[in-house]
């Protein structure tokens, strides 16, 4: 920028001590040693969620009125929200940024609300691939594993030697979970993933019937089987958190020490273990048969937690169920309260153009773009003071060492 010619006489001096023109030529950006970086990132609640649920995303969808989209985002990482809403210790809430202002978002209550709302959710019959998996045990891990395999098109049968499905969850009835809640949750899970559930099943590995002998993979669920259940000698122990590849035809899922014995508040960990088992088992089945194309249907892409094509929750939600849900919502106090709670979410990790950074920048070095879709930092003048990063309520701005 062109500098004005220097002041040479008293009459040229401005009365008020000020520059006689803009100071934009003074590029103070070279004073900076830390640079503000504006980038969306995972919200602290999701970072702390054992199941990796995209909490701020589904809350955001609900806030915009897309309740069914919100429900799908939730179910994509958590097929048993009615149970986590009652049992989980909710580490998401302990990291909630809103605590700095007043109190954490009650994710637990919202989960329960959405679970109740989505009790009747259906899917259309999805296309199946030529793979069959038998999950033995219908605890949260087994159900979760079956769900994600079913969503990927496997034919899944869940066998439970007990008369009531739920595995370790059955012991929590009726004090910690109402029986109809467990029934509804399991019923929705098997319906969405098109799973067959058989209770009171006779399981005999010595004289296996047609199902057990012809299936592609058998998965033994530690949260669904009693301690005295004896696994066959050919079963291969598999820790879904550590082991990468699946070997053998019978998987005996082993849990790390902190998850043994079953602890109800850790339910999100079991759901995550089930999802990881499903993901790795599916990869193995696909690899074995050389059907690589299907691996694309991955539910677990980190930034899009659910692939809607995969779950195929019908659009009818908008018409049929939505009307029904609407009627149901209105008679309950919970809906209003849940939606009020959703409103409180700051959508951490996602810039929503609140422009707090713009108003706090002492050097006017942050401005919204012309189309007002993002903010841009004027690095020619930003001194790197870090006030924007401190003030950003959603943690989108961080100060980074960037060599220029």
């Amino acid at each position: 920028m062109q500098l004005k010619k220097p002041i040479e006489s008293l009459s040229e001096l401005p009365t008020m001590p000020s520059t006689i023109d803009t100071m934009a030529w003074n590029q103070t950006g070279d004073w900076r040693y830390l640079t503000p970086l504006v980038a969306n990132k995972l919200a602290p609640c999701s970072q702390n969620c054992p199941a990796g649920i995209p909490i701020s995303e589904y809350l955001s969808a609900v806030r915009k009125g897309h309740i069914q989209n919100g429900l799908m985002l939730l179910l994509g990482r958590n097929p048993l929200p009615g149970l986590t809403g009652r049992l989980c210790y909710h580490p998401c809430q302990t990291r909630c940024v809103r605590r700095r202002i007043d109190r954490a978002i009650s994710v637990q209550k919202i989960e329960r609300f959405l679970a109740d709302l989505g009790t009747e959710v259906k899917t259309e019959k999805s296309e199946k691939i030529d793979k069959q998996v038998v999950v033995i045990g219908s605890g949260p891990l087994g159900l979760s594993c079956a769900f994600y395999l079913g969503c990927r098109g496997c034919r899944v049968v869940v066998l439970d030697p007990c008369d009531q499905a739920g595995g370790a969850l059955v012991n929590l009835l009726p004090k910690k979970i109402e029986p109809e809640v467990l029934a509804n949750e399991i019923s929705r899970l098997i319906r969405l993933a098109d799973i067959k559930l058989e209770t009171g099943a006779v399981i005999d590995f010595d004289t296996p019937g047609e199902l057990l002998s012809k299936t592609d993979l058998i998965i033994l669920d530690p949260t669904g089987l009693s301690e005295d259940f004896s696994a066959p000698a050919s079963a291969v122990a598999f820790n879904p958190f550590d082991d990468e590849t699946v070997t053998g035809d019978i998987l005996l899922v082993k849990l790390p020490q902190n998850l043994k014995p079953f602890k109800a508040p850790m339910i999100a960990h079991y759901i995550a273990a089930g999802r990881l088992t499903a993901q790795k088992a599916f990869d193995c089945l696909v690899m074995r048969s050389g059907q690589q194309g299907l691996a694309q249907s991955d539910l677990d892409l980190p930034r899009q937690a659910v692939n809607m094509e995969d779950i195929k929750i019908e659009r009818f939600l908008v018409s049929g169920l939505a009307a029904e849900a609407e009627a149901k919502q209105e008679e309950t106090w919970d809906r209003e309260r849940a939606l009020r709670e959703v409103e409180r979410c700051l959508s951490c990790g996602t810039c929503n153009l609140c422009l707090q950074c713009v108003s706090f920048c002492p050097d006017a070095s942050i401005q919204p773009d012309e189309d007002k879709a993002a903010v841009t930092i004027d690095l020619d003048h930003c001194k790197g003071c870090g006030i924007c990063a401190y003030e950003c309520p959603r943690g989108v701005i961080t100060m980074e060492e960037i060599s220029t």
């Binding site: 008293l10 008020m16 001590p17 000020s18 520059t19």
Partner: protein, 387 residues
Amino acid sequence: MKKIVTGNEAAALAAKLARVQMVSAYPITPQTVIVENLADIIGRGELKAKYMPVESEHSAMASCIGASMVGARAFTASSSQGLAYMHEMLHYAAGARVPVVMVNCNRALTPPWNLYCDHTDSLAQRDTGWVQYYCADVQDVLDAILIAYGVAEQALLPVMINLEGFYLTHTSEVLDVPDQKTVDIFLPPYRPSNKLDVDDPKTFGNVCGTDLFSSIKYKRHCDTLSLERLWDQTAAKFHRHFNRLHSVVEAYQTEDADVCIIGIGTATGAMRLAVDRLRKEGLKAGSLRLAMIRPFPIEGFKKAVINAGHVIVIDRDVSFGAEGIVAQEVKAALFDRHGEVKLTGFIAGVGGNDISVETIVPLVRQAISGDGTAVAAGTTLWAEVLP
């Protein structure tokens, strides 16, 4: 329209008539009534102004500076300890050349605590660069505030209008309230040519190297010096509109006076009565009220005391270890006549003691005869002290 009001009420009324756009003040006795009245006036919607409550006098002045820099007419009022707390910002306001007008209600500084009149609070701010005006009566308060805005906005310098605590702030007198239309003609809206403006970005009060610093300060000094004339010009304009004159000096019977009694504030009224009494006794006395202390009204002063052989200054303040502050000012102004004029300085009326005719006449006699109750301390004489 005539009203019976106190000095504080007159000050609030003046701010309203001046259509100030921003009021930011922290209450303190004896100034509180001004702030309360303005809050009422703004609250009732009679004045379209931003009323900003602040946590301190420092912030009050800081926000007035900010408001003035974006082109708003700003007003504040304080007193004593509050004014002392404002000190840093007073320098800033004058340096930034913002035409803020403030009222200071003169009150003694602590300790010991005393809520009554004393000029040390404002005279201690003498070198901040503010124009200082000392009112003599309630009408003077209202008129001086209006003149002050006119002067401040032409010179781009802040003006402090001083009211004596209780003698003026809480004493009711008849006030001739000017009508708003005439005030609007006398005092048009403030439209600065240079101001904080996002559409014309500039840096204000930025770093200035040694190359320009002297020039900037020199320019400010010259502008402040010229304010004596500017005030009188503006006061003459005010006189044309309202038929009341408020000069920087007010001389009484000085033309042929051998003895000239000098002071500031309301006591100058009593000085005039004392002159009358002394003249009856055969003494050629006169009196001079210095309405302005900064800039020192040197031209008006010299004209008034040109014939006096003995100058008596009564100070309601003290510069500890030296003498009365007004006496120092007068002494400096008389320097070119130092061989031919005698000066006697008294300290009287500090902490609220009344300076009446009965106070003044004996002091003048003591100045002339050397005989009296005031006690010598250095070059000054203290009245009203224990033996």
